[in-house]
């Protein structure tokens, strides 16, 4: 749980040669890339991309996108300017990506540079033939609606352009800390979470595992999900490490106390242990996870490294349920027309793309629909949920009012969580049964 735990680098014999370039984009991205640079990412090239001449990470190449219009003052929080600037320097970006098989893109969305440049950079990297994996943060809620909206829009763009996006809302990470933590510390801890994720994925790619997870598999997983794939990385040591790791995982705030696992569609589990990692340990972790995510497709990887003797590290990336959305057109020239803008009041509770529900006035053309669809619409019109037909949406619906329900006499006691469900809430509320 402790963000300060930094795993020692693996011995070189166990790593695989794969050329990786890590881009830190924008001030936040560069800071995070700086944190990464402090550790030993053997063989990775670090590039800091910025639009002004401010903080620069040590040990990283600097790629300054200076434009006549900016006069060294940065984008001023306008992603449109950042995008234009990046388009101007598209060739340079592409050149920086040259030779890399995998590009990690680290950025904080919501500002000008991070939001504006990242999508273009992702496109440039793909154009140069690299696989792109983006690690981004979303701003704190207190940073205002404007930034949230920008961040959401750019997240959508990134999702269409990168091979995989792992996104961490700062707000979620802040839950990990107590409220008296300093402002700067909160930022640092939150970005440490993200770098932890970068490291977890890095390890997946670089270590020769007993059971390997292929990069393509990882990308497919991340692409399939909607932007907010949750990830959690826990480490436990000692003789009870398997059990401890499970407990830490199920209590992990980034997984909403296990709730994210329960509703996940796909879960990727990577285990890293020492030579003393026993089958029983692996079994225990997997059995528990299988139980916690009954509906998920679980992809598992395991690796053994000498440096992990007596320790066990479990990284979980869970992507939520999402009805298969129509593939978005990837426009090559620019994103003027591309992603649908999400409404400003979009919060974490609402998915960025919801399944469309016909309004009761509108009569859809009958021949275009299958029987099932027709039934769904009819059910929607009569106001009764299609109970037997669609278990998944019902489940999702029931999660919406959770935050409002008062738990009455159990308000202050330790919640009874069973497979991600809070049993203290009335059963009929959780199952979405209407009283009428």
């Amino acid at each position: 749980m402790n963000p300060e735990i930094i795993s020692p680098p693996p011995p070189p014999g166990e790593t695989r040669r794969r050329s990786v370039t890590i881009f830190g984009v924008g001030t936040a991205g560069i800071t995070m890339a700086g944190q990464l640079a402090a550790e030993d990412f053997a063989g990775a090239k670090l590039v800091a991309v910025n639009t002004d001449d401010s903080a620069v990470a040590p040990g990283a190449d600097v790629l300054e996108l200076a434009g006549r219009r900016l006069r060294g003052l940065g984008t001023g929080g306008d992603p449109e300017r950042g995008r234009e600037l990046a388009e101007e320097h598209f060739d340079r970006l592409q050149a920086a990506c040259a030779g890399a098989e995998v590009v990690f893109l680290v950025a904080g969305l919501g500002g000008g540079t991070g939001s504006g440049v990242s999508p273009v950079l992702a496109r440039a990297a793909r154009a140069s033939g690299a696989l792109v994996l983006a690690f981004v943060t979303l701003p704190f809620a207190c940073e205002g609606n404007q930034r949230q909206r920008q961040a959401r829009q750019n997240l959508d763009q990134l999702m269409t352009l990168a091979d995989g996006v792992i996104c961490l809302p700062h707000q979620k990470a802040a839950k990990l800390l107590d409220e008296h933590t300093g402002f700067a510390d909160t930022f640092r801890a939150s970005s440490l979470r993200l770098t932890e994720g970068v490291r977890g994925v890095w390890r997946l790619l670089m270590h020769r595992g007993l059971i390997e997870i292929h990069f393509e598999e990882l990308c497919a997983l991340l692409r399939a999900g909607h932007g907010e794939s949750c990830f959690a990385s826990v480490e436990a040591a000692g003789i009870t490490r398997a059990r401890d790791a499970i407990e830490k995982l199920s209590a992990h705030p980034l997984l909403d106390g296990g709730q994210a696992l329960a509703t996940a569609a796909t879960v990727l589990v990577s285990m890293q242990g020492g030579p003393d990692l026993s089958m029983a340990d692996v079994n225990r972790v997997m059995a528990d996870l299988n139980q916690q995510c009954p509906q998920a497709r679980i992809i598992m990887g395991a690796a053994v490294a000498e440096s992990f003797r007596d320790r066990l590290m479990v990284t979980v990336i869970a992507t939520g349920h999402q009805p298969p959305a129509a593939p978005k057109p990837v426009s090559a020239a620019g994103e003027k027309s591309a992603p649908p803008a999400t409404p400003g009041f979009d919060t974490e509770l609402l998915h960025p793309t919801r399944p469309e529900r016909p309004s009761s006035r509108h009569v859809p053309p009958a021949p275009a629909l299958t029987l099932e669809q027709r039934e769904q619409i009819l059910a929607g019109q009569t106001g009764k949920p299609g109970r037997t037909r669609k278990p998944a949406p019902r489940l999702k619906q029931s999660t919406l009012p959770l935050d409002i329900v008062n738990k009455g006499r159990f308000d202050k006691s330790e919640p009874t969580i069973h497979k991600g469900e809070d049993l203290d809430l009335p059963t009929y509320v959780r199952r979405g049964v209407a009283l009428n």
């Binding site: 009870t240 006499r409 006691s413 049964v433």
Partner: protein, 406 residues
């Protein structure tokens, strides 16, 4: 010196009531219940203490009442504990028999049980019970007592019940604060099962579900031994809370509605009916839809049974329960609950009766006393064991044998 007394007290600090039951072992060695004291509990949530001072006060009332009724002074108790932190699992211990003639001695049995108890518990957890199931001698299963048999390798299966140390200590501290000794701490579910099951039931296989105020404890017996224990931190309080939320009435009123109009099954006959809520003066305040009330209750209870079934199903334990399911605890009073359990568990369900002890018949018949009576029964087993205590010489021998090289 008080070891010689034949008074055994079971104390349960429950979510809905604090209850002390006094039992006496008569000269024939039979257990007789001679006193019961109880008080409404105010400081317990989900089986765990949240307000020690309130609990202390309630405890004092219960003890005084029990003392008056039984006309004895209570000095020590068998304390029942529960809570969502308590877990049970099965473990196997192995011990090689090293004596020259390969005969299994008492010490070997002690050692193998000790090995079985040496388990990797989560930090801060303590073993509450380590209950022997069967011995295995050279891989042969199902041996009840291996002493005197020949073999090279002795194994034992134990069922270990463990819980969070600090949370267990909380209950013990409150009792000790009253200048009472705690003889032993016993898991409530285990105590209830002792109260309601006969030896035949244990042999045939039975599931005891104790639906208390704050938790639902369950224990599975098969082939005469405990196979599984579990705690679900959901109980009668949750039903009340659901009703209070769903019907928009205060907790006290919800409790009353639950007792007066509750049922575990959703009955279509009540469709459209409603219940009038009246104030103390008899004036009508509000009406509550009976159908909603039943539905809320039925869903919660249904879910509890489903969760238990889900817990037992992976180990295939539901197939072993030939004596069926026994319900006890306050929740067993809910009308139709046996039928609901039958529907979900697909097993014969009965309301557990504490038949195996004598005395105060009218109180003993009530399902909510199963735990406290079971605690007394647990104490009586210990009492009999104490009577048959080994002599000093044997004691010393077993002490020294621990230090002898094997």
């Amino acid at each position: 010196m008080f070891d010689s007394t034949s008074i055994i007290v079971g104390l349960e600090l429950g979510t809905s009531k604090v209850c002390a039951v006094v039992g006496e072992i008569n000269d024939d060695g039979a257990l007789n219940i001679i006193g019961v004291g109880q008080a409404r509990s105010r400081g317990v949530r989900k089986g765990e203490i949240v307000d020690p001072r309130a609990v202390e006060e309630d405890l004092r009332h219960a003890i005084v009442e029990a003392e008056q009724m039984a006309d004895v002074e209570i000095r020590s108790v068998y304390l029942g504990v529960t809570g969502g932190h308590i877990r049970g699992f099965n473990n196997r211990g192995v011990h090689p028999v090293v004596s020259a003639d390969r005969e299994i001695a008492d010490e070997d049995v002690l050692d193998v049980v000790k090995n079985a108890k040496a388990i990797n518990l989560p930090q801060d957890h303590n073993v509450l019970h380590a209950i022997r199931q069967h011995f295995l001698v050279d891989g042969h299963d199902g041996i009840a007592d291996p002493v005197g048999m020949l073999g090279a390798r002795l194994e034992v299966d134990v069922h270990v019940v463990h819980g969070h140390l600090n949370r267990l200590q909380n209950a013990i501290r409150v009792v000790k604060g009253m200048q009472l000794d705690v003889n032993e701490v016993v898991f409530n579910g285990l105590a209830s099962s002792l109260a309601v099951l006969s030896n035949t039931d244990k042999e045939l296989g039975a599931l005891v579900i104790d639906i208390g105020g704050g938790t639902t404890d369950y224990v599975v017996y098969a082939g005469g031994v405990i196979k599984h224990t579990g705690v679900l931190a959901v109980g009668g309080d949750h039903v009340t809370n659901d009703l209070a939320f769903g019907l928009k009435v205060p907790q006290g009123r919800a409790e009353q509605l639950k007792i007066e109009n509750g049922s575990a099954l959703e009955d279509h006959a009540v469709k459209g009916q409603s219940v009038k809520i009246t104030s103390e003066l008899g004036l009508p305040l509000n009406t509550v839809n009976l159908e909603h009330l039943r539905r809320i209750m039925a869903m919660r209870l249904e879910e509890s049974f489903q969760l238990i079934a889900q817990d037992l199903a992976p180990a295939g334990l539901l197939e072993y329960l030939r004596a069926g399911v026994f319900l006890c605890g306050g929740g067993a009073r809910i009308p139709e609950i046996a039928r609901l359990a039958e529907q979900i568990l697909e097993l014969p369900v009965t309301i557990g009766k504490t038949n195996s002890v004598s005395g105060l018949k009218s109180t003993l018949d009530q399902p909510e006393f199963a735990t406290a009576i079971g605690l007394v029964k647990f104490g009586s087993f210990k009492f009999r064991k104490r009577e048959a205590r080994p002599t000093l010489g044997q004691n010393l021998k077993s002490v020294f044998s621990k230090f002898l090289p094997h």
